[in-house]
């Protein structure tokens, strides 16, 4: 009877819902006797799928000469996933259902990795559903906590396996009995091992197991820090002094956040000052400032944290000093940092508190912002970070030995703290870029502890730097898998547009307009391979002009919801690095089938307007089409052609026509209040394909034709946005740029007023545009650009969104001064455009809209990913440029030295002043740098000036002042990181300061 055995077959538990109700949940289970053990050739169990576990286990481990199977406990997966994932770790593994569920309960990312692991082919893993096999199912005892119950279940299953093996292999008379393989319980929990020993189950700790393996040296480094404490009981963790306050329990945090007493947000580290961070929260206009190590309380960039705000009288202003972690903590010893009372700790403490007290000196109250401390972490955002081994942290006597030692790894990103890790490969890893994962950060440890994942390669080698960039910005860069490539047309690069008529088996010409005779051309940067747009224009008999924008018809090839589509959605965007491009779509599409090459028939999605000569839109229509571009110009070629009065052919005339329209369109846009913003764009010359050593850096040149293409793309995007919003008011994929909050501009306005006597009107984008136009310094043409760059930095970034998700009055694009906007013109390299193509195609009745695009939540989810990828791609691109600029500067410096000249000197503008330095912008190179002084200077925060002692008299330097800096590339001694170092040459030489 079911009711009598309810305690066995039913599992009841309570759940609290989001609305605070308590729900009782009931799970029934049915026990069976035929859950297979997964061992090959087992005479009792049989399954449909091939069993992965070899009959006699694995003989590879020295402790188990009779063969063994490994049965890991949950904590192994929670703490040592990198080890299990290593290709060197290949024992046959029995994975219990209890373990899988516990992993899922504790950490979803780890669960996903575990799932992937069970599917991978190079591991022999068998999932045993122990909770459903009648012999191994257990019932929770009275007063048993869930953890103990699961541990007991794992032990019972291990014991069952051993009995099962011996029962199914009875001795055969006359044959020598071969010893049975053992099932070994691997667990980090000493108490569990003890209990296992009592019930006669073989168990082992991870470290001990790995030590007995063949590749112990390599594998031991992959061990997470969790495992290391048992091995060294000498360091009594309890005896250590807690350096950080404990976190509050998660439920308390949530209660506090709900009650509005605490605030939740993402932690942003300050890249200039490692002792300062901020958390933007909705409750305050300005982000909450966190000052000092223990107020930041062990949080790392990107963590979702909960902050308590101090009373208003304790609020502070952000520091105006550069505090470099490398300088302050140079002498910290990795072996014993974090221990009680060591001199080093004291020293660090004194230094840090001085750094803090200096910076927290008198500041105008207006600059104060909410200040608080972290009381808990809702979600860690830890991942693998690219680091260098800090060579000063190596024990000098041990630089060549292979013994384990504790070293510091310095992340490439300045936003991250140093990570302590234990490795036996330290000497080999020096001068390498390595990947390190943070495992934990105890209250007793000053630094987070982590473990080594893998080496990327020698520092400054292109491969290592490139991979490290991609990893650092989380760009997915693996080659496309087979499932994805299978979605491409089977003809491969032989694919052509079929002739119209009966040979068109796939009916590609259905509803497509034949625009092959229209004089279409494309204008792109030189060397562009993925041409996704082309243009045409012609005069109509009524005096109006027909202009067309033709975009590669990517949605014809990328169908919704297949592997290629999912991959493209996950990648979000193509990432452009200086010397590489990480494609969103397989290159067959990007650079061939969807690239609008000249003289080839290509599928396109066309937007065709009838415009008056004054560029007023008379009508617009959208159609799928087939085009055959007549030319592919670079911006320069198009410009030259347009300017050549001798050329009067149709092609040239259509460029002129387009240009005249573009000029009018732009004028209109500007009149409507569009901003002309500037960001430093730098072009890297690569001298040849092989060496790819940059020889020079120069700013990108902008031509009239650049703006021609841009204007028409904007026009197309706006027209398409209107159309899809009309057709799909709930799910249209749009792009918006929110107006920046006024407070963002406060500082810039203040600087401008005080240094130049200029004012900035930020009441609207038009007003801002107008006031930016009058921000000129007659003596300094670059000043205007500089102000524009600084204004750009005050703005928010644009984002994709689904039209049903936000209020209609927030659709606007601030920078473009357009009421509505989307991205339609680059479907090869942006996923949002692919979605827009699908929606537009449905809006004109060409194809029905895929069900997923009707779902608001689905669109939102996809766009969230795309937004994030987009941001990351931009950052990766910028970082790549920075790296090459560094190389170029180094090369230039060396050449200068060879020629016997002095160092590289450039003009620069001061953009920020600190107590002990100035931030400068070198407009010619498009780089920003920091000049730091060893001595403090007279600093006037109110007027943004510092006074430095010059050769004869003191010199005052203020923001926007032009200075000359010496630029060197210096290899950071500790981290081997190439670092641009700038020193002032004029008005004073700061090398002595």
């Amino acid at each position: 009877m079911a009711s009598t055995e309810a305690v066995i077959t039913q599992r009841k538990f309570f759940k609290k819902t989001a609305r605070g109700k308590v729900v009782k949940v009931l799970r029934e289970r049915y026990l069976r006797d035929d859950v297979a053990c997964g061992i090959q050739g087992c005479r009792e169990c049989s399954t449909e799928i091939p069993e992965p576990l070899p009959f006699s286990g694995s003989f590879e481990h020295q402790l188990y000469p009779n063969g063994h199977y490994l049965l890991p406990d949950t904590n192994v997966f929670l703490a040592q996933m990198d080890l299990i994932e290593s290709s060197l770790f290949t024992p046959p593994i029995i994975l219990l259902q209890t373990v899988i569920e516990e992993v899922r309960h504790r950490s979803l990312p780890l669960y996903n990795r575990l799932k992937a692991l069970t599917k991978s082919e190079d591991k022999s893993i068998w999932i045993f559903y122990n909770e459903y096999r009648s012999e191994t199912a257990i019932v929770r005892e009275e007063n048993e906590i869930p953890n103990d119950r699961n541990d007991r279940g794992i032990r019972v299953a291990t014991a069952w396996y051993n009995t099962h093996i011996s029962l199914t292999r009875p001795p055969i008379r006359g044959q020598k009995q071969t010893p049975h393989p053992t099932v070994v319980l691997m667990t980090e929990d000493a108490a569990n091992r003890e209990k296992a020993a009592k019930s006669g189950v073989t168990s082992i700790s991870v470290r001990k197991y790995v030590e007995g393996m063949k590749d112990a040296n390599l594998l031991l480094d992959l061990l997470a820090a969790d495992g290391s404490q048992e091995i060294e009981p000498t360091k009594a963790a309890s005896g250590r002094q807690a350096l950080y306050p404990d976190y509050l329990p998660i439920s308390t945090l949530l209660a506090g956040v709900k009650a509005g007493e605490l605030h939740q947000g993402h932690f942003n580290a300050n890249q200039y000052n490692y002792l300062e961070g901020s958390v933007p929260v909705p409750a305050f206009d300005k982000p909450i400032l966190l000052v000092g190590r223990e107020n930041m309380n062990r949080v790392v960039q990107g963590d979702i944290v909960v902050v308590e705000v101090f009373p208003e009288k304790e609020w502070k202003a952000p520091a105006d000093e550069v505090v470099d972690q490398e300088a302050t903590l140079k002498n910290d010893d990795a072996e014993d940092s974090g221990e009680e009372g060591d001199e080093n700790g004291e020293e660090v403490f004194v230094k840090e508190s001085r750094a803090l007290s200096e910076s927290s000196s008198q500041k105008p109250p207006s600059e104060r912002q909410p200040t608080g401390r972290v009381v808990g972490v809702v979600k860690r955002n830890w991942r693998a970070y690219v680091c260098h081994i800090d060579n000063t942290s190596l024990t000098s006597t041990l630089t060549t030995s292979l013994s384990t030692q504790t070293v510091f790894a310095t992340p490439v990103s300045r936003l991250l703290p140093r990570i302590r890790l234990r490795t036996r490969q330290a000497p080999i890893l020096l001068n390498q870029k390595i990947l390190v994962t943070i495992d934990r950060w105890d209250a007793t440890s000053r630094y987070p502890e982590g473990h080594f994942v893998r080496a990327l390669g020698r520092v400054e080698s292109k491969e290592a730097e490139q991979e490290s960039l991609l990893l650092e910005f989380e760009v997915p860069y693996r080659p496309f898998g087979k499932a994805i490539l299978d979605c491409l047309p089977p003809e491969g690069d032989q694919w052509v547009v079929p002739p119209k008529g009966e040979f068109d088996i796939q009916n590609i010409w259905r509803d497509r307009e034949d625009l092959r005779d229209v004089i279409v051309c494309s204008i792109d940067p030189p060397g562009c391979q993925d041409i996704d747009d082309a243009l045409h224009a012609k005069l109509l008999p009524n005096g109006n002009i027909e202009a067309g924008v033709h975009i590669a018809d990517v949605s014809h090839f990328v169908l919704p919801d297949n592997p290629m589509d999912s991959e493209a959605a996950a990648r979000g965007t193509t990432v452009y690095l200086v010397d590489n491009r990480i494609d969103m779509l397989p290159s067959l599409l990007g650079t061939n089938l969807c690239s609008l090459r000249p003289f080839v028939e290509r599928l396109a999605f066309s937007s065709i307007w009838e415009l008056t000569p004054d560029a007023e839109i008379v009508s617009v229509r959208f159609t799928k089409s087939v085009i055959k571009p007549k030319a592919a110009f670079t911006y320069e070629e198009a410009q030259i052609r347009k300017d050549d009065p001798n050329l009067q052919d149709d092609l040239t005339n259509s460029i002129r026509l387009l240009n005249s329209l573009a000029i009018k369109l732009k004028a209109k846009r500007m009149a409507a209040g569009a901003l002309n913003l500037a960001s430093p764009e730098v072009k890297i010359h690569l001298d040849s394909a092989e060496s790819s050593d940059p020889i020079d850096v120069e700013q990108k040149e902008l031509r009239e034709t650049n703006s021609l293409v841009e204007e028409f793309m904007l026009l197309a995007n706006i027209s398409v946005a209107k159309k899809i919003e009309e057709s799909f008011p709930q799910t249209a994929v749009l792009r918006r740029h929110l107006p920046p909050p006024k407070t963002n501009f406060e500082k810039l306005q203040d600087i401008l007023r005080k240094t130049k006597g200029l004012s900035l009107d930020v009441s609207s984008s038009g007003a801002l545009a107008a006031s930016l136009d009058i921000c000129v310094d007659a003596n300094e043409p670059a000043f205007n650009t500089l102000v524009r760059i600084m204004a750009t930095r005050c703005m928010l970034s644009a984002e994709y969104f689904s039209s049903g998700s936000v209020a209609k009055n927030t659709f606007g694009h601030y920078g473009l001064a357009s009421k509505i906007y989307t991205h339609f013109t680059s479907p090869i390299r942006r996923y949002a455009d692919v979605l827009v193509h699908r929606q537009l195609s449905a809006a004109i009745g060409f194809t029905p809209l895929h069900a997923t695009l009707h779902s608001k939540s689905h669109v939102e989810r996809v766009l969230d990913v795309v937004n994030r990828r987009h941001r990351m791609a931009q950052m990766a691109g910028r970082a790549s440029v920075e790296f090459y600029v560094g190389l170029a500067l180094k090369a230039r410096g060396e050449q200068a030295k060879v020629r016997g000249e002095a160092d590289v000197k450039e003009e620069a503008f001061v953009i920020r002043t600190f107590r002990n330095g100035v931030g400068v912008f070198v407009s010619k190179l498009g780089i920003e740098g920091l000049v730091t002084f060893k001595r403090d200077t007279q600093f006037d925060a109110e007027n943004y000036t510092i006074t430095v002692p010059g050769a004869k008299e003191d010199v005052k330097i203020s923001v926007f002042e032009k200075v000359i800096v010496r630029i060197e590339v210096e290899k950071d001694k500790n981290t081997q990181r190439g670092k641009v170092k700038m020193t002032l040459v004029e008005p004073v030489d700061s090398s002595a300061l």
Partner: protein, 334 residues
């Protein structure tokens, strides 16, 4: 039930039997005998406590008898301003139309209302109120919904309802909650720049000022929760069916129809010897002298005493069967 229609002849036959010496009842019981009572607790796994009770079911084919299902469902309730603290108990009796095929839906509603009133008034009395229905003082508490469903009525509905209610309440487990609060450290002084942070760490579980608690959590626990405080207090009821000078217990429908009045006495046993009267109802139209009433109450006490002790024994037995025994049986199987 009064509405069961029997003829005058039947009525007088039954009365004559009861008044005869020795008394004779249709099923051969003596005046103060009960029919067989069967009880099972925990039959509804999704409720917080449940019981299934029947009186007089035919042991061979399981037919006939009064059949009642009781279940307790706890619900989180936000306490409004100036509302009473410490949880509420709401009883509701519903009668399946199949149990009363002769009643119109209006009459069924009336019946349900009458039964509900008696149970609710008795069980929600402050003297019986369990003390552990609190979640967060002055913020949140449990609302205990006791639902009783009459699926068949073969007489003696009140006794059956109270027994089922007592069993379900006995079986009820209140999920463990822990109130959480965030206590902001108003005394926090300049802690910045100071490395040794020690006594100033705030605790989330400070119970001294629980008034600040805003929310609660469910800690993981091996059991479904703790039993209701004072579950021994839940009362038992006895209906004395009065015919002339005598009274008899556990009347069948026909017998109920034959007696003009009934006295319902509900006793709660804080201690096994001296019960307190929780409720008393005189049902029917006939008069009853004070002297008689006194005697009847005295008699009732002895009945409820027996009923109380055997019911408690059965409930303890049920607890044992469902947990320990089942576990042992499971252990043996291996």
């Amino acid at each position: 039930m009064a509405s069961t229609s029997i003829s005058k002849a039947e009525k007088s036959y039954i009365q004559a039997g009861l008044l005869a010496n020795p008394p004779r009842r249709a099923d051969g019981r003596s005046l103060h005998d009960f029919r067989v009572i069967s009880l099972e607790t925990g039959f509804a796994p999704l409720s917080n406590g449940s019981a299934h009770l029947s009186i007089g079911r035919n042991p061979h084919n399981g037919s006939g008898g009064t059949d009642i299902m009781a279940s307790v469902k706890l619900e989180v309730e936000s306490i409004e301003e100036d509302a009473s603290d410490g949880g509420r108990i709401v009883c509701n009796v519903s009668c399946s139309p199949s149990a009363y095929p002769h009643l119109t839906s209006g009459a069924l509603d009336d019946l349900q209302y009458d039964l509900t009133t008696v149970l609710h008034q008795t069980l929600s009395h402050p003297s019986l109120h369990p003390k552990n229905l609190n979640i967060i003082p002055r913020k949140k508490s449990w609302l205990l919904n006791l639902d009783l469903l009459v699926t068949a009525d073969a007489g003696n509905i009140y006794d059956a309802l109270f027994m089922a209610a007592r069993a379900a309440l006995w079986d009820t487990k209140v999920p463990r909650t822990r109130s959480v609060e965030y206590k902001s450290p108003k005394s926090l002084s300049s802690a910045s720049g100071d490395m040794d942070v020690d006594q100033d760490t705030t605790s989330g579980f400070d119970t001294r000022k629980v008034a600040h608690a805003t929310d609660f959590e469910l800690p993981d626990y091996w059991d479904e929760g703790e039993i209701l405080e004072g579950r021994e207090r839940w009362p038992v009821a006895i209906t004395l069916n009065l015919v002339k000078t005598i009274h008899f217990l556990d009347a069948t429908l026909q017998e109920e129809a034959s007696c003009a009045s009934r006295l319902l006495v509900v006793h709660s046993y804080e201690s096994p010897i001296s019960p307190t009267v929780q409720s008393m109802r005189m049902l029917g139209s006939e008069e009853l002298s004070i002297l008689n009433l006194k005697n009847l109450i005295k008699e009732a006490e002895s009945y409820t005493n027996t009923m109380f002790s055997s019911l408690t024994a059965k409930l303890e037995d049920e607890d044992f069967r469902r947990n320990q025994k089942a576990r042992e049986r499971f252990g043996k199987r291996r």
